[in-house]
């Protein structure tokens, strides 16, 4: 293992992380809910009366955030998608199924779960890190 110092961005990543922490804290303080993106998306599949509006509004916020970034601050987010089309489809299926089955993803278990010191979320994080490491290694070094 060696660190790629040119790609490493400790400052912006720490700052971005703080913003994520403020967003999840504000969400639970103001609205009493866990800001878990997969949970909020998944809840739209079987919408309970009156409970779909806030889900849509929050997701619209995330969806339109790059537009604010581009038009307000002239910052265009860099997004390089290495995966090909079949990989994107399989990845989407696995991420959707897995997050729903495990009741959470990188935001719900990752950020909120650790912030709540939840043992369940710690197990979830260790599990998805392990399979993530393995799949990334296989893809980049064995195939």
């Amino acid at each position: 293992m060696h660190i790629d110092w040119l790609a490493f961005t400790p400052g912006p990543s720490l700052l971005g992380g703080i913003l994520l922490g403020i967003a999840t804290s504000a969400y639970v303080l103001l609205h009493g809910r866990i800001l878990g993106v997969s949970g909020i998306v998944g809840g739209l599949l079987r919408p309970v009366k009156q409970a779909w509006i806030w889900r849509i509004v929050l997701l619209l916020g995330i969806l339109t955030s790059p537009l604010w970034s581009i038009f307000l601050f002239d910052m265009y987010p860099v997004q390089i998608i290495e995966a090909n089309w079949p990989m994107v489809i399989v990845a989407g299926l696995l991420v959707g199924f897995g997050a729903q089955y495990a009741s959470g993803c990188t935001s719900g278990h990752g950020i909120c779960g650790l912030s709540r010191l939840s043992p369940r979320s710690l197990v979830a994080i260790i599990s998805f890190m392990i399979s993530g490491f393995v799949v990334a290694y296989v893809l980049r070094h064995l195939l």
């Binding site: 089309w85 495990a102 950020i111 998805f128 799949v135």
Partner: protein, 157 residues
């Protein structure tokens, strides 16, 4: 009569403010993902591939998010209601279950395959990446498959 009008106007205002704050929190969350670099699938893969030239930035994202989050969730643990007056909807489950572990392993495999998790995929959809649209549609399909064939317990709202 007048009193009831005032309270109902207040309730409507409260509801609008509540929705506005939901939107702004979503925007803030999106900015957090973009500034931290986590909305870039390549950067995620450069973290997950620990044997290649390694980019440990994700650890700093978690550090920033969790230090702030610990404070936020500590304050919440002292309260019985949210600031907008609703009840707290916090996860009650404590047991480490098979679905938790197996689901997370499957989730991680998908994460390592494309470098996308749900939040960043929605940001990429907003930027207009066609692959993000396909990813999100496949993700919804995956959720639906799980909901239809693998979950028996109804989810809370």
């Amino acid at each position: 009569m007048r009193m009831s009008c005032v309270t109902s106007c207040e309730n409507v205002m409260k509801k609008q403010f509540s929705l506005l704050s939901q939107y702004l929190i979503g925007v803030l969350f999106g900015f957090g993902l973009m500034i931290s670099g986590m909305s870039n699938p390549q950067k995620i893969l450069n973290f997950l591939d620990i044997t290649g030239p390694w980019d440990p930035s994700l650890l700093f994202v978690m550090l920033g998010a969790v230090v702030v989050g610990l404070c936020g969730f500590y304050v919440v643990s002292k309260r019985s209601q949210s600031f907008f007056g609703g009840t707290l909807h916090l996860p009650a489950k404590k047991e480490i279950t098979r679905p938790l572990v197996i689901g997370s392993l499957i989730f991680g495999a998908g994460w390592g395959l494309a470098g996308f998790c749900p939040g960043p995929a929605i940001v990429a959809l907003g930027v207009g990446h066609l692959k993000a649209l396909i990813f999100v549609l496949a993700m919804l399909a995956g959720m639906e498959i799980c909901e239809r064939f693998f979950t028996s317990i109804p989810k809370a709202d």
